[in-house]
Symmetry: C2
Subunit: 476 residues, 2 copies
């Protein structure tokens, strides 16, 4: 048995600050006092060990308490994405066979069959509750839906052991100062946000929650030293750095690093970040691995630009079908952080065939064992029999100073099967001819985008990760 | 399966410094290159997975490499205490049924039946070796003999899982900076030293090894910031602080803390340590728990003087027979760091009856859950039916400024069964009458020592822990 994280943390260091939100803050002890009110709420509606429920909420302290309450009760919590349509939500609730939806807003759930209750209206009167102080590593803690190659989202099980293993492996790479405070601007219903919630209670450090990503506020907190770490993707890092440059701000010396997921950060942005005092560590993670599988070590952040680092301490990565460096193949992952499998329609899928989780992503190792993630396999463009990785084309475009963001996808072609098309968001005016020449200089002919389209914005998910599969629909 | 610590660490951060000794240093990669030569040595003598061997050596880099080599081969290594007599060594080798002794000095092993080889003479020619890159948590890694209540030392099994759990629990309490360097002045054949060897390879930090405790050298390293942590007991801390006071030195700002085992540190010494910039965290550990079970958190080091802190994250402690605060009883321990049992003559002892390891030590919790270790049960003095804890009398004596060290034990008495006798090492001249009055002021009549004897030195083990059972023999 392993201890309930928050419950144990309260016994260790009750007076440390566990949560900040705006100007409010809660010690771990105060967090638990709040959590117990939500435990009462859940138990009032019959939730008990093993009950599958769904939670729907924005990043608020109440939602943090509710997630912990679900752990205290021993429920299996489906964390619903707040950006989904009512139909998409209904699919997940049905697929996961959820008996209760606990939500800050009942509107999107009008037509679901499960019982729906609000956690923001009024809480039931507190009463003495019993709850779990321990759990087993193999028990499901959370379920998150993630899109697969075939379209229908799959409900990924994340066990207590998965979350804990991930938090500990991260710790051995990033270190731990008791004064750490992790700025969360990513959703709690994504693993990038939830994993920070888990880490901070295990570590006894502060979760600094914000309702959404706000570059001005993030830059201010970093500059004043009120936070020491933050999770970003390329586009949020760029916006953050831009604010700091404009204000001539520099990160406080207490600020340790940003963890950068969702694909490689361009070297020029790493340089700009460094000039405002921000060390960015590339990471590679996903829902099925309860976040990080590989992350750069601090001493390698500049030497190994473009790499997602090495697999963390207890994790293994192999490139399917090869052990030669620089050879592309599917990235396969093994370790205590890997999901045991899926729920609902996907429950028959073996997530660990031959002991390995097959990611569908393409990557390679260099000769020193650093992992490079080339592309999500779903996004692979096959053109005249040649593999084209969208990320490669995007990087070439973004190396031009006039281009702020680029997204590439394949569109059907009678002649080639598929051809690449590029969408760009501009930093400053530039002719398309110049961008075409940029591609001609750096890319083999078959890789050059057949069309470059200027747009105001690229499609991104709630974590600001580029959605290439959505780009594909733009051409229609 | 869990990864071989050093082997994995080399794959993570090969160029970090893993070991320092005097002016020499080794990266993790260089450490492994050395370790593989000792792997060849062990395999030359037929050592393989599960072979039980004994290792005998002082704190040297070679001995560090040899210990890791034993892990690489998968042997079960009995770590022999270098202070033992030939007869005591022969007992352990026989009791553990050891097939090979690997030693820096063959002299003490002239009459043992096991094969004896030197690891310092000459190493066999290197050749390509196969070794373990993974192991199971439940496999025995090391065996250490510890004295029990009944006299005959018992061989305690420490598994890979025990060592790893301990290192991780310590981490959540003490934090981790990649630049950490742990000064080891305690023997590697004791758990206090070996646990640092394990931690530093798991953490990717530096083991700063010294041949023995030298207060001048330790004070110099702390003042120059060449180390960031150190393990001490009261007497070594006192000697260290004294050097720093005399030289008007202050610990470098990089120096984080000392971990203080072997019983409570007097408040006056904590104050003196603080004035030279040293934060001392009391800990409670033992061979059967692969070192720390409870340790004070940094923010409590001054508020909870005399306490050994709270049980670390995954550990549980109960006071047998009570859950009331301030009630004395036997300290019982549960957690992934607790030994599965013993070897040899003690192998039939159930180390975890009812799921708990019964320590034989006496302690209590305060109302906030802080553990106080009152005494080792073996040292308990029972006088006229009253329990007397030697530590209590020692603390009263040490509170007098003329007393540097004090040790108390029971001696037979026809009238009372046993009575306490005190041995003191003086800081400055003082009359025994004054010390007697000190006891009268602070101790109930039955607790007052019947005799106070001035000595030059107290009996201590290789970790400088007071040996009260040896004091007992002084009266004869």
């Amino acid at each position: 048995m392993r201890p309930n994280w928050l419950h144990r943390r309260v016994r260790q260091t009750p007076q440390r600050i566990g949560l900040r939100f705006g100007e409010e803050q809660w010690t771990f002890e105060q967090m638990e006092q709040n959590v117990l009110r939500y435990v009462t709420l859940l138990q009032t509606y019959g939730v008990r060990e093993g009950t599958r429920i769904a939670l729907y909420g924005q990043a608020t302290p109440s939602f943090v308490f509710l997630i912990h309450a679900s752990f205290y009760v021993g429920a299996e919590a489906v964390l619903l994405n707040c950006r989904l349509t009512a139909e998409e939500l209904a699919f997940q609730i049905d697929d996961a066979d959820v008996s209760l939806v606990v939500t800050e807003d009942v509107t999107p759930f009008e037509s679901v069959s499960a019982r729906v209750v609000s956690f923001t209206d009024r809480l039931p009167a507190e009463r003495s509750v019993s709850y779990r102080t321990e759990w087993e590593a193999h028990e499901p803690a959370t379920i998150m839906y993630t899109s697969g190659t075939t379209g229908r989202p799959k409900g990924v099980i994340q066990t207590y052991g998965n979350h804990e293993a991930n938090a500990l492996a991260s710790l051995l790479n990033l270190g731990l100062a008791p004064s750490d405070s992790w700025l969360v601007t990513v959703p709690l219903f994504h693993i990038s946000g939830l994993s920070i919630l888990v880490r901070t209670v295990l570590y006894g450090t502060t979760l600094h929650l914000t309702p959404r990503f706000d570059e001005e506020e993030s830059a201010r907190l970093i500059t004043l030293g009120r936070v020491t770490m933050m999770s970003v993707v390329t586009v949020t890092l760029e916006r953050l750095v831009r604010v700091m440059e404009r204000n001539r701000w520099v990160a406080h010396e207490r600020f340790r690093l940003v963890l950068a997921g969702g694909g490689p950060i361009p070297p020029s942005l790493l340089d700009r970040a460094e000039r405002v005092g921000i060390v960015a560590l590339q990471t590679y993670g996903m829902t099925e691995t309860s976040s990080q599988t590989a992350t750069l070590a601090i001493e390698e952040s500049k030497r190994k630009v473009g790499s997602a680092g090495k697999p963390l301490f207890w994790n293994d990565v192999m490139i399917d079908g090869t052990d030669e460096p620089y050879t592309y193949g599917e990235i396969c992952i093994r370790g205590p952080h890997v999901t045991p499998g899926y729920v609902g329609h996907a429950s028959t899928i073996d997530a660990q065939r031959d002991g390995w989780f097959h990611t569908g992503d393409i990557g390679y190792f260099d000769e020193e064992g650093f992992l490079y993630v080339v592309d999500r396999r779903n996004d692979l463009i096959i053109s005249g029999g040649e593999n084209i990785y969208p990320a490669e084309i995007e990087h070439v475009l973004m190396r031009h100073e006039a281009v702020r963001e680029a997204g590439v996808c394949g569109v059907p072609s009678e002649e080639w099967g598929e051809v690449p098309v590029a969408y760009v968001v501009l930093e400053e005016d530039v002719s398309l001819d110049i961008l075409k020449r940029q591609c001609e200089r750096h890319l083999a002919p078959y890789k050059r985008p057949k069309q470059i389209v200027v747009v105001d914005e690229l499609p991104r998910n709630a974590s600001n990760k580029l959605l290439r599969r959505e780009l594909k629909t733009w051409g229609n």
